[in-house]
Symmetry: C2
Subunit: 225 residues, 2 copies
């Protein structure tokens, strides 16, 4: 994995600032473009894609233009070209490497899924404190002791850590990982991580929050018997 440091607008591509709202829609474009590819479609207009995705054509054009003109007037977008561009933006094929901290139910479920491989993320190791797990393999990945954490991450030049360990240890382990050169956290612990350093990216996953927002809507809008 490698990328230039803070290239503001390198020769017509890559506009200044892209809002978080736009970034969070990119993976959705990625998914829908894959569907179009599977269906064998060569081109798509913003209108067609908008209908599929239940958003407006205007938003699609606006979003894509944050990164450059990927379409062609009168024609629309070339599906595989657009897909390639989105993949590039999302770092598919950038060779991102990751470790999973915590080989519990969730950590094991994740490593056994096609989640990472599909998106070009390479899981290079799991880590756990439980001695009975250390040395075993899950989904073709070795479980190592937490004592090896720093050495392994530095030597292997790991980019990202998936945190599936108990929340009371989240902060301390994250500190160790930062010291070992890790710059991205996919955080399932429930303990929110906040760093001032803009070089450190944290993606919080709060499944419980997601469930509760559904509960809210179920209680407000529905009635039974």
């Amino acid at each position: 994995m490698s990328s230039q440091k803070q290239t503001p607008l390198s020769s017509e591509e890559e506009k200044t600032y892209v809002s978080d709202a736009v970034i969070r829609r990119l993976p959705r474009y990625f998914r829908y473009l894959r569907i179009l590819i599977r269906e064998g479609k060569m081109r798509v207009s913003s209108g067609e894609l908008a209908d599929m995705m239940h958003i407006t054509a205007s938003q699609i054009r606006q979003d894509l233009n944050c990164f450059g003109g990927f379409g062609q007037q009168g024609y629309g977008y070339n599906v595989s070209f657009l897909y390639a561009k989105i993949c590039e933006l999302l770092g598919v094929g950038a060779g991102i490497s990751a470790v999973i901290i915590g080989a519990g139910d969730l950590g094991r479920a994740l490593v056994r899924s096609s989640m990472f491989t599909k998106r070009g993320v390479d899981i290079v190791s799991l880590f756990d404190v439980n001695p009975s797990l250390i040395g075993r393999e899950v989904g073709g990945v070795m479980i190592r002791s937490m004592t090896e954490l720093e050495n392994f991450c530095r030597q292997t030049r790991v980019d990202m850590a998936v945190l599936t360990l108990p929340k009371d240890q989240a902060e301390a382990v994250a500190e160790r990982l930062i010291a070992a050169g890790i710059r991205g956290f996919w955080n399932f612990t429930g303990k929110e991580l906040h760093y001032d350093d803009p070089e450190i990216a944290v993606e919080e996953v709060h499944l419980g929050d997601s469930l509760m927002s559904l509960n809210y809507r179920l209680c407000r809008r529905n009635s039974k018997e």
Copy 2:
């Protein structure tokens, strides 16, 4: 589980419309209030809570006032009172029942977690097509055959379904569940569900999208070697 049907503003509580942005912050308030309770704090001001949560005090007051005046001028908010109100809004204690469709790695990991119990959601059954799983128990919950789906859901009056089955079956199974009276979906399948009926609530979980947005930030902002 029971709630009144569309009560617009019942005696000073419950204002007209609450935006999705606000609803999605409620579970966060829930989590931080639990921390305050654990710490034994009796009262909290919007300013203190704002610092903890890395948001503005203004936003907290604005959010909470969507549901009524939970605070007291000059004092702040009573932690356990506010917590009780938030719990009520989020349906904790409303006795929501749910089934999990798909007893794969994810379905099993979820049912074995404290995810549901902590939030007052009762998992009453798992369902799977795999004959070797049917009849077994995971996390104290029985795995039943998909052939029993409709009967079970209707008889048990199930509120919600957690979809952890393969995506190509998501839509068909969701239709069966709707016909069997289910009104909420926690959808992990990756196949997005869209219904016009406002009585049907869908919460999409796209872990892959979450991972990719992290990839994006890692590739844009970071550099190595």
